[in-house]
């Protein structure tokens, strides 16, 4: 387009506010992809905030059922938390390995992350199954509804993350560290770390604050 280059510099700063930094043009794909995923994560956090809000509103609506302090086991939650924190660390190791294209450390990091995620899910599943078997299922009271959906929603995200993680490993195995695979790995790492942040909210608000009351 020959006409494009001809516009005068006078238009660069129509309001005479001084230096104008020219926008360099479209960003590289890696930035674009990660930014899009970042925006998705923020929207996901807003979704979680609704479940947090619902929990805060309904926490005292126990309908003569159990209160939080009667059913929460701090020890389990502590183990779950440690699992997730360690998995965040190993996930970080895996993403460093992916960046330097080291397959061994990548597989190791991802495998450990996966195992830790599965342990977390197993403990959570046992907690849920135990509550349901004692008659404290989500339909017992509004408080339990809110509890099960908030914690369960996080659990569903972790499950989806594990599925994604396994798919990522298979993809690296099949396709190697291609640019698009690395971009996905980066999004996965963001996702996994963000789940940790949500979990910090969950254990603080649900288990510790709710458990003490």
């Amino acid at each position: 387009m020959s006409m494009t280059a001809t516009a005068g510099r006078a238009h660069a700063d129509p309001h005479h506010i001084g230096l104008v930094i020219e926008h360099p043009g479209p960003a590289p794909k890696r930035t674009v992809t990660a930014y899009g995923f970042w925006v998705f994560l923020l929207s996901d956090i807003v979704m979680f905030s609704c479940f947090f809000a619902a929990y805060a509103v309904l926490v005292n609506q126990t309908a003569d059922g159990p209160k939080g302090s009667e059913i929460f086991e701090q020890r389990n939650v502590a183990i779950e938390t440690v699992c997730l924190l360690l998995s965040s660390f190993t996930c970080g190791m895996a993403s460093i390995a992916a960046d330097v294209r080291n397959r061994f450390w990548f597989y190791l990091g991802m495998a450990v992350t996966c195992v830790l995620g599965l342990i977390f899910l197993a403990i959570e599943f046992r907690e849920f199954a135990d509550l349901v078997s004692r008659g404290y299922g989500p339909s017992r009271s509004a408080f339990l509804s809110a509890f099960f959906s908030l914690v369960g929603c996080h659990g569903l995200h972790v499950s989806a993350g594990v599925l994604w993680l396994l798919t990522m490993m298979a993809q690296v195995f099949a396709k190697g560290f291609r640019a698009d695979v690395l971009r996905r790995m980066m999004c996965f790492a963001l996702f996994w770390h963000a789940l940790d942040i949500i979990w910090v909210g969950v254990f603080s608000v649900v288990y510790l604050l709710g458990g003490g009351a």
Partner: protein
């Protein structure tokens, strides 16, 4: 565990022959006609051999322009469906004085619920998202959106939602709960049928599509801009797109969460919004409106952007107060999250809460007022051309100001206590949504149609459409204000108050005039397609435009721009035109280069296919099919992730050939203008 379920229940869930409403002739005939029409179109497509073209060029296309057009097509078809609902309601209320009218209550309730749901989610949303998709990458001077394949997924998921809503016409029923499905009415104990499930699942699925579109457009505006396109040089439509999509990204998850809670209540016996076990009905109102109020700004902000473009172009002036416009847009973006309680002033939050939200609701009118003044000052002293898009813009200003003022009125809590849930309110939000969003969508449709298809729309039919729609609108909705003042509440299937009747009859007449407007719009399309050679736009700049979408041919090549334009100021294309005239024309031959474009992908379509299966199965409790759909959707993404070539190359010679044709046309235009 009680009895072992029968094989039939396992295979078909709740589905059986009673789901088809043989006893209700209206939906059955309507559904039959639509089915025949769809079959006829399908047979025509197959017999004429258009299927490969449709598949390769449209269904699997990841071109933002094609996807934008498909969004708008979906919105237009759904507008006819939602409009038919509106006509039926107006007729019912005109004749149902001291009688049952012609629609039984359970059917009437489905109609008003479907009308609202369809008009907001499947008309207004896809229309504005379609226009943003079509135009924003062009205005930013780039070749595509940030995530082209995801864009296609988003569109097809929206289409899935629309399909499910319309499926409810012939298989089962739709919600009878109003367009927001308030509990406890929408809970299982009061709505045991599949209506609310149709409603919730179609919104969940299309909501995912909308969220994807929102993420895509936010990233596009923030990360993909051509050289020199600083934030404060973006066309106003890009700014409103940014604001609107930020709201989508922040608000739609709230809808998803709220509907998920409702679905958990209905499917698994949770107690979020039930009357028993500590559930809290009010929390639903609170959460759904925390989405619902930003939603109206999601719809109207892009319309504001369209009007900014239209008013500036047809006044031949740069937009007045560009920076104040940007500020107003972003202010609306944030404040729209602080006013949601005004939808339920009457539900007992008390004076403190009501006062604060009432004040916030009045404050949000201020940036909107700033915008109105900016448009007026843009017109002031301009050389105004009253082409059809400009007519819609002027009609909008008149309509929207009145709608906005009645809005400020109901933002006063004591006044709202009198007017809540009355026909006055119905008139108010139609006043802003039709006058704002629909007029904006029509203005954008008329304005950018030549860009999308390469020929202008017939002006005579366009103006007729405007005048009929505009007059019809006022004849329909002024009576509703009056009826509301006389105490008529909304959603009445019949009534016994004699004073309301004349107003309802006038409103029905207005609806007829409005329908003529819609027919004119269809005629405009037909006539324009017939005369397309006479209306052909060869230069790519039919309106003497100011922003970059007019710098490329109409319709634009698949790569939009042979070179990323270099932007040096606001109104980028206008500056280029001026500069080109001043310096006569450079005739250097640019060095064309190969262009990489994303390959087509059936991912969106296949994914939506599985989403449809899953949605339908969830509604009817057919669990094996849900699992099948879920696995299918996951497999679709894995297949997509596994492909080896995601881009194809357009060779430089081809780029050159396409671009030269456009440059020649444009040069002749500019030299002609220079001669005058």
């Amino acid at each position: 565990m009680q009895a072992v379920p029968t094989l039939e229940a396992l295979m078909l869930g709740k589905l059986d022959w009673s789901a088809i409403p043989f006893d209700q002739p209206i939906p059955l005939i309507a559904g039959g006609v639509v089915l025949v029409a769809i079959l006829a179109v399908l047979i025509w497509v197959v017999v004429k051999g258009h299927l490969p073209y449709l598949w390769h060029e449209w269904i699997t296309s990841v071109d933002h322009k094609r996807i934008g057009v498909m969004y708008i097509l979906l919105a237009s078809v759904m507008l006819l469906r939602g409009g038919s609902d509106a006509i039926m309601m107006r007729i019912q209320q005109a004749i149902a004085y001291q009688s049952q009218g012609y629609l039984p209550p359970e059917h009437y309730n489905q109609i008003f619920s479907a009308h609202g749901t369809i008009m907001i989610f499947f008309v207004a949303m896809p229309f504005v998202i379609g226009l943003m998709n079509l135009v924003v990458p062009l205005q930013l001077g780039v070749r595509d959106v940030a995530f082209p394949t995801l864009n296609s997924v988003g569109f097809w998921l929206t289409a899935t939602g629309a399909l499910l809503v319309n499926l409810s016409l012939v298989i089962g029923e739709f919600a009878r709960t109003g367009w927001l499905a308030f509990p406890p009415l929408s809970e299982l104990s009061y709505s045991p049928g599949v209506g609310v499930d149709y409603y919730a699942w179609s919104l969940q699925i299309s909501g995912v599509g909308t969220l994807v579109a929102g993420i895509n457009l936010v990233t596009t505006v923030l990360k993909l801009r051509t050289k020199g396109m600083n934030y404060l040089r973006m066309p106003m439509f890009c700014w409103t797109t940014l604001a609107s999509n930020l709201l989508i990204v922040a608000a739609f998850p709230i809808l998803t969460a709220t509907l998920a809670m409702l679905l958990l209540d209905r499917y698994l016996g949770f107690h979020f919004f039930t009357n028993e076990a500590g559930g809290n009905v009010m929390m639903f109102m609170n959460l759904i409106w925390a989405w619902g109020h930003p939603e109206v700004y999601i719809l109207v902000l892009p319309a504001f952007g369209i009007f900014s473009e239209v008013v500036s172009t047809f006044s031949g002036k740069a937009l007045f107060g560009y920076r104040s416009m940007v500020l107003a847009t972003m202010a609306i973006c944030v404040i729209s999250f602080m006013v949601w309680l005004h939808h339920f002033f009457t539900m007992g939050a008390g004076p403190d809460v009501n006062a604060i939200f009432g004040i916030a609701s009045m404050i949000i009118a201020v940036p909107t007022g700033v915008k109105i003044y900016n448009w007026l000052f843009t017109m002031y002293g301009g050389r105004i051309r009253f082409a059809t898009p400009m007519l819609w813009a002027v009609g909008f200003m008149v309509t929207f100001i009145i709608g906005g003022l009645t809005g400020v009125l109901v933002a006063v809590p004591p006044a709202d206590f009198m007017l809540h849930n009355s026909m006055f309110l119905v008139a108010h939000f139609h006043n802003v949504i039709i006058g704002g969003v629909l007029f904006g969508a029509f203005a954008g449709f008329e304005y950018w149609f030549p860009k999308a298809f390469g020929f202008r729309l017939d002006e005579r039919w366009g103006k007729l459409a405007f005048w009929f729609t505009f007059t019809g609108f006022w004849i329909t909705f002024v009576p509703l204000y009056a009826a509301g003042m006389l105490g008529m509440t909304r959603r009445l299937q019949h009534y016994n108050v004699a004073e309301w009747r004349p107003w309802m009859i006038v409103a029905a007449i207005g609806m007829a005039v409005l329908s003529i407007g819609v027919i004119c719009q269809i005629m405009q399309l037909v006539v324009s397609i017939r005369n397309r050679e006479a209306l052909r736009d060869r230069t790519g700049d039919p309106w003497d435009g100011r922003s970059l979408e007019w710098a490329t041919s109409s319709p634009p090549p698949v790569f939009n721009f042979a070179f990323h334009p270099d932007v040096r100021g606001e109104d980028a294309y206008w500056d280029m035109k001026i500069a080109a005239q001043q310096q006569s024309l450079e005739h250097d031959v640019p060095e064309y280069q190969d262009i990489e474009m994303p390959r087509n992908s059936p991912t969106g379509f296949v994914c939506a296919f599985f989403a449809t299966i899953m949605g339908f199965a969830l509604i009817w409790h057919i669990w094996w099919m849900v699992i099948l759909g879920g696995i299918g959707a996951f497999a679709t993404f894995v297949v997509f992730a596994w492909r080896d070539h995601d881009e194809y190359v357009i060779p430089a010679a081809e780029v050159a050939a396409i671009d030269r044709v456009n440059l020649e046309e444009r040069r002749s235009l500019v030299s002609m203008a220079g001669a005058i």
